[in-house]
């Protein structure tokens, strides 16, 4: 019988699931992702995780708990770094330990370290190690699986760049054409943007109001890198970089009407990146900008009110603001 490997639907699931799924299936393992976040999963996460961790870490604990009696192994790789001389966030590096020592009765964890801080070669090495841990010893098969997985990842990225959200791509829901009146940028970490329970169906709510959404994953990483060059100091978090780069990209373009930042309470990266984006938005770009902070609360009434107010602002600007100033120069375009 094939070995069952569980993958919790949290943290960078919506970034690397197609990659790791293809890799493990090609090797001959059975991949079991945890179900989408529900109330019970969140409650379990809050119960087992320490109090002052951020929301995505708590949700991740809940997912690990749900998988605990369904699989032989749980895959929680230690993502120290995913691009050269950049870290993600200290919590990613300590995630296997956080889960191991907090959630009881877990099956063995596969906690291979993926550290590309020096160069890209570390990835293949880490994947070989991961396969050996799962008792797959054929190096040829592993090499072939890595290649297939990279191809699958590239296809996934291409689909996302076309404008489909990663959660739809993973669930193989084709991209639907929405009648869009407004185009807004929605910036945030993938584990907040695409987890439709914790963000209270934000994307659906925005789309039902006729907005077309662009998230950081849909923007070319090269553009993001280039825009981050103008930062006063090298940004050493890839997560913060994608936030700042995509926010600058969105604010630079006239075709976007506004910018929304989705952030979790207590997120360390957001506290710096959000501050930088806000300063830039206030100083140079006169574009509507709002921060949505989410926590464990699940009542969405006030959340809806804020979104409504944001849309009112956008609509009135589009219909009532005259884009002509006394100087003969448009004051509202960037």
């Amino acid at each position: 019988m094939a070995v069952k490997v569980g993958i919790p639907r949290g943290m960078y699931f919506y970034k690397y699931y197609p990659f790791i799924k293809t890799f493990l299936t090609e090797l001959g393992a059975e991949v079991v992702p945890s179900p989408e976040t529900t109330r019970e999963i969140l409650d379990k996460g809050v119960l087992y995780c320490i109090d002052d961790a951020c929301l995505p870490v708590k949700v991740f604990h809940g997912h690990a708990y749900t998988l605990r009696d369904k699989v032989d192994f749980i895959l929680i790789p230690r993502l120290t770094s995913i691009s050269k001389s950049e870290y993600i966030c200290p919590k990613f590096g300590g995630l296997p330990e956080m889960v191991k020592y907090s959630v009881p009765d877990l099956p063995p964890l596969v906690d291979t370290e993926i550290n590309l801080i020096k160069n890209q070669k570390g990835l293949a090495k880490a994947l070989y190690k991961m396969a050996f841990l799962l008792k797959f010893k054929n190096p040829l098969l592993i090499g072939r699986s890595i290649n297939t997985a990279i191809r699958a990842h590239n296809n996934f990225m291409a689909a996302v760049h076309e404008g489909n959200t990663p959660d739809c791509v993973i669930a193989s829901v084709p991209r639907r054409q929405y009648k869009s009146k407004i185009r807004i940028g929605l910036v945030g970490h993938p584990y907040l943007l695409y987890d439709n329970f914790t963000n209270m169906d934000l994307i659906k709510k925005l789309r039902s109001r006729g907005a077309e959404i662009t998230t950081p994953d849909m923007i070319d990483p090269h553009i993001i890198n280039e825009l981050c060059m103008e930062l006063p100091k090298r940004m050493f978090w890839s997560s913060g970089k994608s936030l700042i780069g995509s926010a600058l990209f969105i604010m630079d373009r006239r075709s976007f009407d506004g910018l929304l930042l989705l952030s979790a309470f207590g997120c360390g990266v957001d506290s710096l990146a959000g501050e930088y984006i806000e300063k830039q938005a206030r100083m140079y770009y006169k574009k509507p900008y709002m921060v949505l902070n989410i926590d464990e609360h699940t009542g969405d009434a006030s959340f809806n009110t804020r979104i409504e107010a944001f849309f009112d602002l956008l609509n009135r600007r589009n219909s009532d603001a005259a884009n002509l100033s006394a100087h003969g120069r448009s004051i509202y375009s960037s």
């Binding site: 320490i50 200290p90 300590g94 330990e97 956080m98 020592y101 100091k233 050493f236 501050e275």
Partner: protein, 379 residues
């Protein structure tokens, strides 16, 4: 140029003697109080960590006293500290302090030229003096540490606890008027002699508590609401895991001479957290294990709210607690300055340890695992 620098516990003593030796005019910022914190947090992002807010408050206090340049260290590790400099520069500019120069000493591997130029700026043409001045400042750091250790030993045993507090405060007052490392070392020695003369009760066998956690909150007495002093006055002998000297030794001197810092801590924390994840989280776990091995009776972990590396070590420490049978009190500090709840928690913790410690055999920690709450009154 009037140079200033943020407060970090006793760091100002060493930095002052360093700058005095080099011959740079400097201003010690006013000691951190709740008004400093208010000043800093009024122009800080909401959820940033506590040290950022306090440092910003320190700067503004110094600028009001006449400083025009600020010296801080930087890093490019995964902790937020590395990005303090650029953001604080921006925040000061927005708050109306326009021509303030922030000199950031990033680690040399980020660019040797940048590092050298920053040093040149600080020294102002006196850079031949930097190295000897640095070594003397390090000596001051060592002496400050040994002074602190003396205080830790004397405080729980002192008959008159107010006396030691007076001496320590007097010392802080005199530091400001001292110039150069030679005078500073003299002052420290005098203070030590004064402390040695205090009457102590040698029959006492106080419990021993180690303080671990995030370096800034461990070192800076304002942020942890004087936890060391409080514990000492409750009758516990404390030890601080991280000091300015440890930081300088392990992150500046050892790497600069081709060795690795925090070797012991990294070795001890390997079973729990095998890789570096940023901040001092590996060191925190290493210290916890080290204190447990040394036979300490309890540990206090202190860290600012939303500190990313310490959240990881906080979730690992319960396992250390189980494995070594050493109780740990977790204190998360933030902008709150109410002392009552804090005092109660420390008192309860000290009571818990004293009650669970077998009176006849103070060193036997194994017996404590089976002891219950009602083994007798303290002392």
């Amino acid at each position: 140029m009037q140079l200033t620098y943020p407060h970090m516990g006793e760091a100002y003593i060493a930095v002052k003697s360093l700058l005095d030796d080099v011959g740079v005019k400097s201003i010690i910022p006013a000691f951190t109080t709740s008004s400093t914190l208010k000043l800093g947090s009024s122009i800080s992002p909401e959820t940033i960590c506590l040290p950022y807010k306090i440092m910003l408050g320190n700067y503004i206090n110094s600028i009001k006293a006449g400083a025009d340049s600020i010296l801080i260290t930087g890093s490019c590790g995964p902790c937020r500290f590395g990005y303090y400099g650029p953001l604080q520069r921006q925040a000061l500019r927005d708050a109306g302090y326009k021509d303030i120069d922030i000199i950031i000493l990033d680690p040399p591997r980020e660019g040797y030229k940048k590092f050298y130029e920053a040093l040149k700026k600080v020294a102002g043409g006196q850079h031949s003096k930097i190295l000897p001045a640095f070594m003397n400042a390090y000596k001051v750091c060592c002496e400050v540490d040994s002074l602190n250790e003396l205080v830790y030993f004397i405080r729980p045993r002192a008959v008159n606890k107010a006396k030691i507090r007076t001496i320590v405060n007097e010392f802080k007052k005199n530091v400001i008027n001292t110039k150069g490392s030679v005078q500073m070392l003299e002052l420290i020695n005098e203070t030590k002699n004064l402390i040695r003369k205090i009457d102590i009760d040698n029959s006492l066998n106080p419990i021993r508590i180690g303080i671990i956690g995030e370096i800034y909150t461990v070192i800076e007495p304002f942020t942890n609401l004087n936890a060391e002093e409080r514990l000492g006055e409750l009758g516990a002998e404390v030890h601080r895991s991280l000091t300015v000297r440890d930081w300088v030794r392990n992150t500046v001197i050892l790497p600069a001479t081709g060795r690795k810092g925090f070797k012991l801590e990294k070795k001890l924390s390997r079973p729990y957290l095998p890789t570096l994840i940023g901040g001092h989280s590996q060191e925190c776990i290493g210290h916890a294990v080290h204190y447990a091995n040394l036979g300490y009776d309890g540990l206090v972990q202190i860290y600012p709210m939303t500190c990313m590396p310490e959240i990881v070590s906080r979730s690992i420490l319960p396992q250390v607690e189980k494995d070594y049978g050493i109780p740990i009190l977790y204190l998360i500090v933030d902008e709150h300055t109410g002392e009552a709840g804090y005092q109660t928690r420390l008192e309860a913790f000290v009571d818990y340890i004293e009650n669970n410690k077998p009176a006849s055999c103070p060193q036997a920690r194994n017996g404590r695992k089976h002891a219950t709450f009602n083994t007798g009154l303290p002392h």
